[in-house]
């Protein structure tokens, strides 16, 4: 928290809040910052970034109708995050405590907001994910008949009979999209590298690199389905626009899967920041398209390999733990 800032007159605070709140917008519409260019003339997005943030995913009820926090509210949020990351927010002997695994040193979930926005969801204007369609609700009721690993995210799949019941995240395969571009509890690091006609985005969590052509090609045939979809890019002024389709039915994102259509926009709005937005569309799942804005902030560090399969003893522990519980339950019945 910037204490010095709190001592300046209120009117200046209000002005600065407004300036901070609209900074990405002014930069996008031609503010003082001029996006650097690569030697071959494309906007230069290259660097290593983190998207860790404590900005809530959806807007909370107590800031209903407000797009931005005040500086004081953001500071209070940051203080609360620090407290929650420590022992104060944990009750020993509870499942929640086990789920948080170990003390804060191992995590990299951040303790600060990276913008004054009250939610990562910026559209619809209420900052909330739009309701699901009736069809999606019917599908959800039938989800038990689909492969268990589709759902669950990091919290696991729907069962413990087999590794196939566990989520693709636990199985070190993928978080899918836009999960792989969203902040998590650690490994929130990305490296962007460009060459003429291509932008590559290395993702630290679970590893993997998105190679996005910007040469005007079209999507591959709809019969080809990828974990991360098929991405094609183009330059719109200073902004990289990436269109992604051709997803599989094997990863669920909030009820959506193979019919997802994503449009991402990457704009370098300051030397140390990319304004990243992704619009999520799937008429079979959401009643309207919706958009996330997640700042990507330069780390000045490298990214590390995350060879997740290498030591995934956790999978063995989960499945064998379930067998042991079954044995104990049988014994209890006898």
């Amino acid at each position: 928290m910037n204490h010095r800032f709190l001592s300046v007159p209120t009117i200046a605070i209000a002005g600065l809040v407004a300036a901070l709140a609209t900074a990405p917008l002014t930069a996008q519409s031609g503010g003082n910052y001029k996006t650097p260019r690569t030697p071959w003339g494309d906007p230069d997005l290259q660097g290593t970034y983190s998207n860790r943030t404590i900005t809530p995913f959806e807007r909370a009820a107590d800031v209903k109708g407000r797009e931005f926090f005040t500086r004081e509210e953001a500071a209070a949020l940051e203080q609360r995050a620090q407290q929650q990351n420590g022992d104060e927010g944990r009750n020993k002997g509870t499942r929640g405590d086990v789920e948080r695994a170990y003390n804060d040193f191992w995590w990299d979930r951040g303790t600060s907001v990276t913008s004054l926005r009250t939610s990562l969801v910026i559209d619809p204007p209420d900052g909330r994910v739009p309701p699901q369609t009736q069809a999606a609700k019917l599908r959800a009721a039938e989800e038990g008949k689909r492969p268990a690993y589709r759902g669950g995210g990091a919290a696991g799949g729907r069962g413990t009979d087999s590794w196939l019941d566990r989520s693709t995240f636990e199985r070190c395969i993928t978080r899918g999209m836009p999960g792989a571009m969203s902040p998590s509890a650690y490994n929130n690091n990305y490296r962007i590298t460009q060459s003429p006609g291509y932008v590559a985005i290395e993702i630290e969590m679970l590893g993997g690199t998105r190679v996005i052509p910007t040469d005007g090609r079209k999507h591959v045939s709809t019969s080809i389905r990828n974990w991360m979809g098929d991405s094609v890019g183009r330059w719109d002024g200073d902004t990289l626009v990436v269109d992604t389709t051709n997803f599989t039915d094997k990863v669920l994102y909030r009820g959506a899967a193979e019919n997802l259509h994503l449009v991402e926009r990457f704009t370098r709005v300051a030397p140390d920041r990319i304004d990243y937005r992704v619009t999520i569309e799937d008429p079979t799942t959401f009643t309207r398209p919706w958009t996330l804005a997640i700042p990507f902030v330069v780390t000045g560090e490298g990214i590390f390999e995350y060879a997740c399969h290498e030591g995934n003893y956790g999978m063995e522990g989960i499945l064998s733990g379930a067998r042991e519980e079954e044995r104990a339950a049988l014994k209890g019945k006898r």
Partner: protein, 140 residues
């Protein structure tokens, strides 16, 4: 046991720090009803992803030694904080406060790790903004 808590329940529990759980369901692997404290010496450190495993030798009152495996976080985060596997040399005495594995093996997650002199190991008290909770005597 079927299923873990839905992600939303965990998110509610964690409040604002919503995306804060590990890459796999710890509550499916470790037992909240089996908290465990172990004092032992470091035998080896598996500096691997997705999670570090610290092997310790625990001596019973009768002198017998049992090897335990303690699960920690990704080495990636520790590397960024300047720690390497050499930060925990063989023979270092540590106290582990965690939860035992459901499968009954000698495995536990390392909720808190403490050096023999009471200093907390891998606690985020300096530089990363985590609170000082009074458990580390070097924190004043």
């Amino acid at each position: 046991m079927r299923a873990g808590y839905p992600a939303v329940v965990i998110a509610l529990y964690l409040g604002i720090a919503a995306p804060a759980f590990a890459h796999h369901a710890f509550s499916a692997e470790f037992d909240a009803n089996k908290p465990i404290q172990l004092r032992g010496t470091v035998a080896k450190v598996e500096w691997i992803n997705p999670h570090t495993w610290i092997h310790i030798d625990v001596k019973a009152p009768d002198g017998t030694i049992t090897r335990w495996m303690i699960e920690g976080g990704t080495p990636n985060t520790l590397l960024r904080r300047g720690l390497t596997r050499a930060s925990l040399p063989e023979g270092t005495e540590i106290l582990v406060d965690g939860y035992r594995a459901k499968n009954g093996t000698n495995r536990a997650n390392g909720r808190d790790l403490t050096f023999a002199d009471g200093r907390r190991l891998f606690v985020g008290s300096s530089g990363i903004g985590a609170p000082r909770d009074g458990r580390d005597p070097t924190e004043k």
